[in-house]
Each structure stands twice: as structure tokens, then as C-alpha cells.
């Protein structure tokens, strides 16, 4: 067995069984998808720059909103955190690698195939999926283009990848911890991923069920979602959101984990309320299974259902509040410094909390009748998903990249990127709250003149935000190739945890004998 990576490029990257290399593959794939999804967003914002139809046809606009959502959720954010899990979990729990290294590589390599199939539909007759990332029936069944079948099997593939990836993570965490690394000593990133993996194994099969029902309705005459056969289109929404709401926590929980690692480092204090963080994460995961119909307040539910889903949704604010409180208390009286990862994490805490508040507004069933399907919802979920998940992912790269490759990123450039991203993000999405409250519906390619000003502002912000990502890419490449070497195993003065006991950069095989944790 070679103790370093294989010399041959193809062998190393295509046949890998190494958690670091596979993690790297996930991260680059995710960034490529981030740029692709971002390009779709640029097209959307360019069309919405002014009222009237300028650049593209409405049919294509629909494909762009759909593909933007799908690519960002399934192609960019989820694989990014799986990539981080691959790199970090073995290093954090004192394992040599993931529990099932070959399956690990399979989970990754399914993704390029799945997304090739999905993106290829854009070039096929009838165009790509055009029914929104939530693909409600009957838009996605009776009225869908034929290419919906490619979409269906693409989703099946992504699901298979996610399930295998999650099983691997669960097996790693349950089975590969170094002696002495008890559950309640695990770093929070590991905890949040363990719970996320559980959510994934529980709900990805339900998503598979939803697309399978679509497949049958479309091609084999069944009537799951067809009232003319005694079925119900609303059934689709129930099945989808039973997956979909846990999915948003699948996206945000690992982000919570990242933030819970970084804030203590730059506060030079241990995380405040470790065990309450663990319990809050578990509580959020549990609640996420029983609140799904808050996405469906306007479809026609019994009053009892509306009330139940309203109150249950509001409950989520409690464990979420615990987390925000703990992050802030960790910083309180700490010896704070504001390196780029910390800046992103502080922005995360502020903006994610803001997004949580708009979530609270949306959870009021009566009020949601007004907000539903407007830009207010778009603003809400971009605050939690971009300023939440994407900011924390960016923070994670700045924070661990020096450890991984033994080279420091350019701090000034990092800070410039942060401020650019932070300002541009708010310019893009803050006005969308106003647009939504004023009644602008989401997913339309044109709008009334009264919405013109804020849309233009939002588009300008979006282009700036896109530019900030290119700066990020440049900084990362520069770091890997030409960054100033770092030798200190700890990299950051306040860092704590097993991964910082390894040499910088860490050896190809993480721990060849298990470390003992006291």
C-alpha cells in the first residue's frame, strides 16, 4: 500500500478511497455547481432588472428559476457540507478515514452523472424542468415537458448518493471514534452532521417516493396526484414537504456545526453551553418532521391543521434561540479577533437570526396568506440559506484551508471579499422583503411598474454578489498554489480539537493509530 497519494493523476482522483481526496472532489464539484447555479441566478436577475421582457422568453425564465433552485440546493450546498464532513469528521474524531471508503467514492461519483443528466435537459426538446424547485403536481406531471423523466431519474441518483453518503457518516461517527472520544466529547460539527445524516436517511427515500409517484402518474396511468382518478394534487405537497422541511435543516444544521467550531476559536473561549447545543440540534431535527405543512397554509387545510402547523412551527424558534444565545454568549467577554472566518460567522449569526424572524412571520398562518408565494418568502429563505449555509461554508473554507494545504490565504483579500459579499447580499435580498410585502409574486418573469426600483437595486446587488464569489475563487486558488506556508499545527491561536494536533498539512492517512482522548 502506498502511503502517499498515487502519483498518477487519474488513479488518484478517480479511484480514490481517501477521505481527504474525496472531500476535495466534493468541494470542487460543489463550487462548480455554485458557479453554474449562480449563472442561472444572474440570468434571472438580468431579466428582472427592468419591467418588461428584455432578454429571455418566459418559458426559459421558468427553467432558470427551477434549475437555479435545484442546482443550488442539491448540487452546491449539500455536496459542500458533505465535502467538509469528509475532510473533517475523521480528523475530528481520531479516525484513519471514513468507515466505508469505497462507498464514499461511489457517493461522490454519482453526482456528476446525476447533474449531467439534469443539466442536459436544458438542451433537449421541450427544455429543462420548468415547474419550480418544489416541482408541484400537476405542473410537474400533467403539464410537464417530457424531459421531466430525466429530472425524475436525476433526483433518484442524487438520493442514492445522499443516502450512501449519510450511512457512511453515521457508521463513521458511531464506529470509528478514537478511544475516549465519547459522544458528549465530539466537536459540534460532528454532532450536527450525525443528526443531519439521520435526517437524510429518513427523508431522501420519501423524496424518492414522491418522484416515483410522479413517474407512475406521468407514464403508467396511475392517479396519485390526479383528482380525476380520486387522487389529490395536494398529496404531492404533503409528500414533498415531508421531505422538504427536514431538507432545509439538512442544509442548515452542518452550518450550525461550522459556526460552533469557529466562534470559540476567535473568541478564545470554549463554546458556551455545549450540551444544550447538542440537545437543541436534536430538538430541531425532531421538530422538523412535524411542521411540514407550514408551506401549505394556503392550499386549503382544515382549521385544526392550520393551527397545529402554526404552533408547531413556532416551537422551532425555541431551540434555534438557544443556539443563537449560545453563540453570542460565547463571544461575550471573549478576546475577540476578526479574521475572515470570524467575520463570516458573525454575519451568519446576525443574518440567520434575521431570516429566522421572517420565518416566524411566515409561520403565522393568517399572515402567511398574504406573504405566501411572494418575494417575502424568497427573501426569507435566502437569508437562511445564503447568509446561513453559504456564509458558513465560506467561513469553513477560510478557517480550515490553511490547515489542509499548509498555506495561508490572503487576509486582506478575504476581508474585502467578506465585506463585498455582506453588503451585496443585503442589497440583493433586503429589498425583496419590501417587494414581497407590497405584493410582488415570486417566479414571474415580469412585474408591475410599482416594483421597478427595488428590483433594479436587487439586481445590482446580485451582480456584485456574483463578483464577490469570483474573488473568493481567486483567493482559494492563490492560497493553494502560492500562499504563505504555515507550519504551526494549530494555525489559529485559539483553535482546539483533534484536527489541530495533526501536522500542518495533515498526512495523507489521518490517524494511522488511534489517538487517545482524555
Amino acid at each position: 500500500m502506498a502511503h502517499g497519494p498515487s502519483e498518477n493523476f487519474f488513479t488518484r482522483w478517480f479511484f480514490s478511497t481517501n477521505h481527504k481526496d474525496i472531500g476535495t472532489l466534493y468541494l470542487w464539484f460543489s463550487f462548480a455547481m455554485f458557479l453554474l447555479g449562480g449563472a442561472f441566478a444572474m440570468i434571472i436577475r438580468a431579466e428582472l432588472f427592468q419591467p418588461g421582457m428584455q432578454l429571455i422568453k418566459p418559458e426559459f425564465f421558468n427553467q432558470m428559476t427551477t434549475m437555479h433552485g435545484l442546482v443550488m440546493v442539491f448540487g452546491a450546498i449539500m455536496p459542500a457540507f458533505v465535502g467538509l464532513a469528509n475532510w473533517l469528521i475523521p480528523m475530528m474524531i481520531g479516525a484513519p478515514d471514513m468507515a466505508l471508503p469505497r462507498m464514499n467514492n461511489l457517493s461522490f461519483w454519482i453526482l456528476p452523472f446525476a447533474f449531467t443528466i439534469l443539466v442536459a435537459t436544458l438542451f433537449m426538446e421541450g427544455g429543462g424542468p420548468n415547474f419550480g424547485w418544489t416541482f408541484y403536481a400537476p405542473l410537474s406531471t400533467t403539464y410537464a415537458p417530457d424531459t421531466v423523466n430525466y429530472f425524475i431519474f436525476g433526483v433518484h441518483l442524487m438520493g442514492a448518493s445522499s443516502i450512501m453518503g449519510s450511512i457512511n457518516i453515521i457508521a463513521t461517527v458511531m464506529n470509528m471514534r478514537a478511544p475516549g472520544m465519547t459522544y458528549m466529547k465530539m466537536p459540534l460539527f460532528v454532532w450536527t452532521w450525525l443528526i443531519t445524516a439521520f435526517l437524510l436517511v429518513a427523508v431522501m427515500p420519501v423524496l424518492a417516493g414522491a418522484v416515483t409517484m410522479m413517474l407512475m402518474d406521468i407514464n403508467f396511468g396511475t392517479s396519485f396526484f390526479d383528482a380525476a382518478g380520486g387522487g389529490d394534487p395536494v398529496l404531492f405537497q404533503h409528500v414533498f414537504w415531508f421531505f422538504g422541511h427536514p431538507e432545509v435543516y439538512i442544509i442548515i444544521l452542518p452550518a450550525f456545526g461550522v459556526v460552533s467550531q469557529i466562534i470559540p476559536t476567535f473568541s478564545r473561549k470554549p463554546l458556551f453551553g455545549y450540551s444544550s447545543m447538542v440537545y437543541a440540534t436534536a430538538a430541531i431535527a425532531f421538530l422538523s418532521f412535524i411542521v411540514w405543512a407550514h408551506h401549505m397554509f394556503t392550499v386549503g387545510m382544515p382549521i385544526a391543521g392550520e393551527l397545529y402547523f402554526m404552533y408547531a412551527t413556532m416551537l422551532i424558534a425555541v431551540p434555534t434561540g438557544v443556539k443563537v444565545f449560545n453563540w453570542i454568549t460565547t463571544m461575550y467577554k471573549g478576546a475577540l479577533t476578526f479574521e475572515t472566518p470570524m467575520l463570516f460567522c458573525i454575519a451568519f449569526v446576525i443574518l440567520f437570526t434575521f431570516g429566522g424572524f421572517t420565518g416566524m412571520m411566515l409561520s403565522i398562518a393568517a399572515a402567511d396568506t398574504q406573504y405566501h408565494d411572494t418575494y417575502f418568502v424568497v427573501a426569507h429563505f435566502h437569508y437562511v440559506m445564503v447568509a446561513g449555509a453559504v456564509f458558513s461554508g465560506t467561513a469553513a473554507i477560510y478557517y480550515w484551508l490553511p490547515k489542509w494545504c499548509g498555506r495561508m490565504y490572503d487576509e486582506t483579500m478575504g476581508k474585502v471579499q467578506f465585506w463585498l459579499a455582506f453588503i451585496a447580499f443585503n442589497i440583493t435580498f433586503m429589498p425583496q422583503h419590501f417587494l414581497g410585502l407590497a405584493g410582488m409574486p415570486r417566479r414571474y418573469s415580469d412585474y408591475g411598474l410599482q416594483f421597478a426600483d427595488w428590483n433594479m437595486v436587487s439586481s445590482i446587488g446580485a451582480f456584485m454578489y456574483g463578483g464577490a464569489q469570483l474573488l473568493f475563487l481567486f483567493n482559494v486558488i492563490r492560497t493553494i498554489g502560492w500562499g504563505k506556508p504555515v507550519e504551526d499545527p494549530k494555525v489559529w491561536e485559539g483553535a482546539d480539537g483533534l484536527e489541530w494536533t495533526l501536522p500542518t498539512p495533515p498526512p495523507f492517512h489521518t490517524f494511522s493509530t488511534p489517538p487517545v482522548v482524555k
Binding site: F14, P96, L106
Partner: protein, 317 residues
Amino acid sequence: MAEQGNYYVPEQSKLPLLAALGMGTMGFGAATWVIDGQSATVFVVGLAILAIVMYKWWSVVIEENMRGMVSDQLKHSYVLGMLWFIFSEVMFFAAFFGALFYVRVLVNPWIGGEAAITLFDDTPTDASVANSELLYPGYESTWPPLITPDQAANGESAKFVGPDQAMSFPGFSNWQRILAWLPLWNTIILLTSSYTVNIAHHALKEGNRKIFTRWLGITVFLGGVFLVLQAEEYIEAYQHMGLTLDSGIYGTTFFLLTGFHGAHVTLGTIMLLVSFLRGLKGHFKNDDHFGFEAAAWYWHFVDVVWVGLFLVVYVFD
């Protein structure tokens, strides 16, 4: 292959990439196949690639184990992997059971005109009248809907004879019909097979190879019989009962639930068959036979699903 200190990390492998290639080709091929309705070539090529890779992959794993390269820790990872895989399968079925529950318990009365939106005010609306015009002529909100959309469109030839004469529990009064009731036989067969696989398991643990292969063989046989009977039931449904995929929500839920169960029984039977063949080759030791154990767990899982199906699809109609 490397034992690193106390740890095990496998060598690089071509198999995962090839498996992904097989799966991707299958996915693409399946979509092409359903769209133009004929050319399954790409799908079949993908399936072939995947089948070959899986055969190779498991051969490698088996060989590693026989050569003693698999540590106890890795064995435990395999156990965890299988358990969580079964859990994901449970959730897949949960989606379909949930769908059945939702249409049967909630939607059916709602589109039949029962006050829906106003749970606290149950004045009936006259939606039933409107719905039978809106949905299809003759629609009535019963479970199962007796006049199917298929019949409404195609007349008597597609008449659904109704579950009384077909799938559902015929009642205790008529023992002859009970005896001819396929689902009951299927239940007996599957439950028995869960028991026989258990006998095999115990025999293996006690090191009694002969009893092991005998009872495992019987289990595989029972699995096969179940599948034949299930196919027979489908043929009956299509040819004599007017119950098809097109016959509205009852046919939909009936065929999808039993169909996916049948697919899982097929998979389980194949897994047991492989274990049987491996048993003949003497692969299993009395304290080391996870390949078989995983298949047995899977078999118990499809058994439990069947009991659920038997109750909600057949008995409590």
C-alpha cells in the same frame, strides 16, 4: 490492502467509479425508455454494467473477509450500514403508506363533499354532486371508489368488480372463499419463510451446515412461491376484476404498494439465493456470516412490511 496500526483502509478501487457509471447510464436510459416507449437499450447496458460491478465488488469484499483482512471494527461498520439501509427502505414504504392513509382517510371524504375546510363546522356541502360531475361521471366517495375513471371512460369492459369479490377479506362466514383467498396464503407463506430463515440462522450458529442449507433452500423456495402467487393475483386483477393501474386511486395504491413490496421480495430472494449458494460453497463460519445475516434481516423487513400491507390493503378495506 493495508492494516495501518489498528486500522484498516482499503486500496484504491475502480469499482465505485464504474458503479456510478452504471447507475448514471441506467438513470439516463430509463428516462429515454419511458419517453419514447421502446428503446430500452441504454437502460439495459447500464443495468449490465451495474450488475457486473456489483458482482465484482461483493466478490472482493468476500475475498477480503476470507483472507482475514476484515477487522472487527470494519465488520461492525458493515452491520451499521445494513441497518441504516433498512431504515431508509422503511421510510420509502412510509411514503406510500402515508399516501394511502391520506387519500383514504382524508381526501376521499373531502372530495365526496364532507365539510373539509371548516373542521369546526361540519355542515355538509353539496360538493358531492358537483364532484361527480367535475371528476368523472358516476364518481362516488366510497373506498374503494366502485365506479372507476377507467370504467367511466371505457364502459362495461373496464368494469371493476369491487373488492368484495376480489382482493379484500371475504369474511369469516364463507370458509371456502377464505381458502381460495390468495392474500391469506401469501401471508402464511411469508410468515413461514421468516421462521424457516430463522431455523437456518440458528443451525448456522450451531455449526450445522446441512440443516442451514436445507432450511435456507426452503426459504428461497417459499420466496419464489410468494412471487408466483403475487403474479397470479395481478393477472387475475387485470383479466377478471377490472383492477388496473388505470383504475383510479384504488388501483394506484394497490399496485404500487404491493408492487414495491414484490420488488423487495425479489431482491430479498436473490440475496437469500446468493447466501444459499455461498453456503453450499462453505463460505460461512458459525461466528462469521454477516452476508447471510444481512439478507435474513432484509427478509424479516419485507415480512413486516407485508403484514402492514395485509392489514391496510387487504383486510381493513
